[in-house]
């Protein structure tokens, strides 16, 4: 009967989104009056999961790294072992890749982009974003087994004082005809999906040569860098940085928009961020209507000054 959570790690560390999934799973387990089991791959130490409410960890070793089909099948077996009626995953690229496969495998209804604990257990109802953050939808999942995909940075981390026991779990491993040839990943940069702070810049920056200050601001804040669509279309920045309705969604704690006008398609994608700051030379820019804090000014003047202020702030608070 346990609620089951799929816990992702990256180079031996649990992802923050995974701890959020554990926190969410714990809330559901409490609502259902049951315990929380996690399924992980190649974890060495599960004690951190106990802190976020996990009672039992099923650890799978000897896999060759992420494969959506193989992992979905393992989670399916874990759900069967635990008799789980609710399975919780995150909104990472890997989770959103395997969740629909798992849904078919478990004959389970799947709701993605869920932003809050179930508003009702019977019928099982969750609040999710729809119309690319322009609205919320309360969605009932009508199947016996349910899959919830939690939106990043929406539920938050909730610490408790539990202990997780670790068990090794040896499911049968499916075969897959999708094989990873190579991975190209910047190891020293925060990804937009994981970042708590995102520093984003638009066409107001005039050209790719001016991104040095954006990167520096991001570095001072430990933030990921992002950009508006035209900036990636023009090739000033890589496509992976394009955020918005047709780019990546951003649900950061702090989103700083520099030289971005605030078109509806841009705002739709970043609106789930908690606090928004805009720096724009034009006081009429629509972004000011969507932001919490704004500076009307020239980015080439404001950004370097802001970097200095933040450095001083950090030195003081270190």
């Amino acid at each position: 009967m346990s609620v089951l959570v799929y816990i992702e790690s990256d180079r031996g560390k649990f992802k923050k989104s995974a701890l959020e999934v554990a926190s969410y799973g714990k809330a559901v387990a409490n609502q259902l009056g049951t315990s929380l089991t996690a399924v992980t791959f190649n974890a060495n130490d599960a004690s951190e999961l106990g802190k976020y409410g996990v009672d039992k960890v099923l650890n799978v070793s000897n896999t060759d790294g992420f494969n959506a089909k193989v992992y979905a099948d393992v989670i399916k077996q874990a759900a069967a072992t635990e008799g789980s009626k609710v399975v919780v995953v995150s909104s990472t690229s890997d989770s959103t890749y395997l969740a629909p496969l798992l849904a078919v495998g478990l004959d389970a209804g799947y709701a993605s982009n869920v932003v809050d604990a179930p508003t009702s257990i019977s019928p099982f109802t969750v609040k999710r974003t729809a119309f690319t953050n322009k609205a919320f939808s309360f969605t009932e999942i009508n199947t016996e087994v349910k899959i919830v995909g939690v939106s990043n940075n929406s539920f938050g981390l909730v610490e408790t004082s539990g202990n997780a026991s670790m068990e090794s779990f040896s499911p049968s491993l499916a075969s897959s005809d999708v094989k990873v040839e190579s991975v190209d990943k910047a190891s020293d940069k925060v990804s937009i999906a994981d970042a708590e702070i995102v520093v984003s810049a638009g066409r107001g920056l005039k050209g790719p040569e001016n991104w040095e200050m954006i990167e520096e601001l991001a570095e001072v804040l430990g933030a990921a860098t992002a950009c508006s669509k035209p900036v990636s279309d023009l090739g000033w920045r890589p496509h992976s940085e394009h955020v918005g309705q047709t780019g990546k969604p951003v649900a950061a704690n702090l989103y700083i928009a520099i030289g971005i006008s605030g078109a509806i398609q841009h705002l739709a994608g970043i609106n789930a961020s908690k606090v928004k700051v805009v720096i724009n030379i034009d006081p009429e820019a629509p972004f000011f209507k969507a932001a919490d804090y704004g500076v009307v000014g020239d980015a080439f003047d404001v950004v370097p000054k802001l970097i200095e202020k933040l450095k001083a702030f950090k030195a003081q608070n270190a």
Partner: protein, 248 residues
């Protein structure tokens, strides 16, 4: 190579989103519909396979007669034929079942769907089709090459990308990157004329059940006014972010 491109018919990105019937239904009043942007990238990539590798391209939508102009647009862009499964799209699972049924019946080597549709943002249809038809699946696909029955695909991962090798039959969840923005095609007069002659077949649904139901909608609460900080007083901004917003 037989390609099927799944087309989701969605409100234009500039649409204002409103609801009716006590916030239980999407208000279609004044809303312009378009090909889901992720599907537009997929369709353009399919055109490349058609022109360079002699593929045939069918497009499909699960929906009512109101989606036909969107399918005609896909034909005008260059697809050879269109299929409409005549039923309301209830949820991702029901849509995936309808699509899987047609795919099994007609047989396709490559099915291109989008990473997600921008209306209900399910992000589930392509993966579900893959599981239902037992085909290989690559999600968030930003590059695809086919050689005979082998495929090389690039998948976006958090913080980077991954190159995978796989084989047909293959389903992808596509997005921008599959082709460049500048490669997207706008239907021209000739395309629009030709589209009128191309087959648009309406098939009946298998009556797949939905597993989820959107019971109510809500709009985000309106934001308060922005707090403006002078560019000469950025200490204040740092202070607000630290003490008021508590984000740094």
């Amino acid at each position: 190579m037989k390609i099927l491109v799944c087309i989701s018919h969605v409100p234009d990105t500039t649409s204002k989103i409103n609801f009716t019937d006590g916030d239980t239904k999407f208000d279609t009043n004044g809303v312009q519909y378009v090909i889901n942007p992720n599907d537009e990238f997929g369709l353009t990539r399919a055109m490349w396979f058609k022109e360079k590798q002699g593929a045939t391209v069918a497009v499909i939508n699960v929906g009512g007669p109101e989606t036909e102009p969107t399918l005609r647009k896909a034909l005008a862009i260059g697809a050879d034929e269109a299929i409409r499964v005549n039923t309301e799209a209830k949820d991702g699972f029901a849509v995936a079942k309808e699509l899987a049924n047609i795919i099994k019946e007609r047989g396709f080597d490559l099915v291109i769907a989008g990473r997600e549709s921008i209306d209900y943002n399910g992000g589930m249809v392509p993966g579900m089709i893959a599981a239902l038809t037992d085909a290989n699946f690559v999600n968030k696909c930003i590059g695809l090459e086919i050689d005979g029955t082998s495929a090389k695909a690039i998948r976006e991962i958090d913080g980077g990308k991954e190159t995978v090798s796989t084989s047909l039959p293959l389903i992808i969840g596509g997005q921008k990157g599959l082709v460049e923005e500048s490669d997207l095609r706008i239907p021209n007069m000739r395309g629009i004329m030709m589209a009128r002659q191309k087959p648009l077949t309406v098939v009946e649904s298998v009556g797949a059940n939905a597993e989820t139901t959107a019971v109510k909608f809500e709009k985000p609460v309106a934001k308060g006014a922005v707090t403006l900080v002078s560019p000469d007083n950025l200490d204040e901004l740092v202070n607000l972010l630290h003490n008021e917003a508590k984000v740094i």
